[in-house]
Assembly symmetry: C2
Homo-oligomer: 248 residues x 2
């Protein structure tokens, strides 16, 4: 297995030391080598090094310390703006302001983001993906000056790690892999796939801490609640329309 | 730069020889090591080896020969179904049937897909991402028996390469990277970023072949036309609703 893939883990504590310029260049070039729809490169990477701008972004990521402590925060965006502008300058009528092209651009952006993460790890750096990007995408657009045709999808924090946490567990491979066609899960299979995770000391600790009877309820009652999910869904979809990805 | 990232290219011609079982296992385990939202693993990989099922999928990918010639076609899906089923079995009320969780699941799926591709390349195999997946997602759901809560995003063809094409070009890194905040492009910058691509022999050949005055018009008038983009956008969004990703 590729070493960086095998050793990948989220790093949440960083030293403040900056990333070497050549290293950063290699990381960004690595991102740009990912496959992209029609070789159109429908994404932008906003590489925020300036501590003041990272401080502005911090509340968008619930003030997690790593956003200000790590030297580099990359906001990964779907971007049909640049390509559309090129088309307009060539008397070609762009038609990328719709949901299909949001998805094409998101695919480009996220494949590039994984290259970015692995490339950083190949240089001994740590990374963390921030899911909070979707929750506060409107504020991120404002802070980073994202024009119409650009929308944030995820954020990758990069820096020198100040911790070395263990690898996190995964469900057995059978959980995510289906051969030939999708085989739906029986109740017994679901029980079996989650058995190890549910029996782990980490889960026992979480249950005691949360005062809840099982791990699933920690997700549904504490971590990701329906009312928040609905509010985030509506807000992001409204932003998607405003940023010009839903003219159809 | 990680060797597989530096050498990545799309392979469209394959030998029919099968993928070694241990190699395939390593590739799939590599996919599963990618970061995932809350460690929820909201994706499924439908690994189609059976030639009959690949033949059923072929029209969904415009009958590109590689779908039937390569031994392995992986349909990469966002999947909130498995996690929701687990919650239901634990008396926890899942709330992942909305747009936020489509995006979280799509992010999980696409980060895993890039690991999958790089891992395959590390074993000397070739890969190709198929954007056609979005165009014909409804048919793919039917053929692969995808239940509610699961939707296809992309497809990765994997096999032993029968060609070794050159690396494809990319825009200068400045095109996709912005420091600190997004800096919008001047007309002159757009011209400069595309100058090399527009002056290439590949572009000249395309212009002659298509009888069009510039490269941008090849995209807008021939490759990706507005009426098709709109039709695909509407169809995919309708499917997204039906598959239960838009209750909000």
């Amino acid at each position: 297995m590729i070493k960086e893939i095998a050793n990948h883990r989220s790093i949440r504590k960083y030293k403040s030391s900056p990333i070497d310029e050549e290293v950063l260049s290699d990381i960004l070039h690595s991102a740009a080598r990912a496959s992209t729809c029609g070789n159109m490169q429908l994404y932008s990477l906003v590489v925020t090094l300036d501590a003041r701008v990272r401080a502005e972004l911090a509340p968008c990521h619930f003030n997690q310390a790593m956003v200000t402590e790590a030297p580099c925060v990359v906001t990964v965006c779907a971007d049909v703006h640049r390509f559309s502008k090129w088309c307009e300058q060539r008397d070609a009528e762009p038609a990328y302001d719709n949901f299909e092209w949001f998805l094409n651009a998101a695919t480009d952006a996220l494949l590039a983001a994984e290259n970015l993460a692995l490339a950083a790890e190949a240089h001994g750096l740590g990374v963390c993906f921030l899911g909070t990007t979707l929750y506060t995408a409107r504020d991120i657009c404002r802070i980073l000056h994202l024009p119409k045709g650009v929308i944030p999808l995820t954020t990758v924090v990069i820096g020198h790690p100040a911790e070395q946490p263990p690898l996190t567990d995964r469900l057995p491979l059978d959980a995510v892999v289906h051969y030939d066609r999708y085989k739906d899960y029986t109740d017994a299979e679901i029980d079996e796939l989650w058995a190890e995770k549910e029996a782990s000391p980490e889960t026992s600790a979480l249950l005691a801490e949360n005062g809840l009877p099982n791990l699933a309820q920690i997700f549904t009652r504490n971590r990701y609640r329906r009312e928040d999910n609905i509010a985030i869904s509506r807000a992001y979809f409204e932003l998607l329309r405003e940023q010009g990805f839903f003219n159809q």
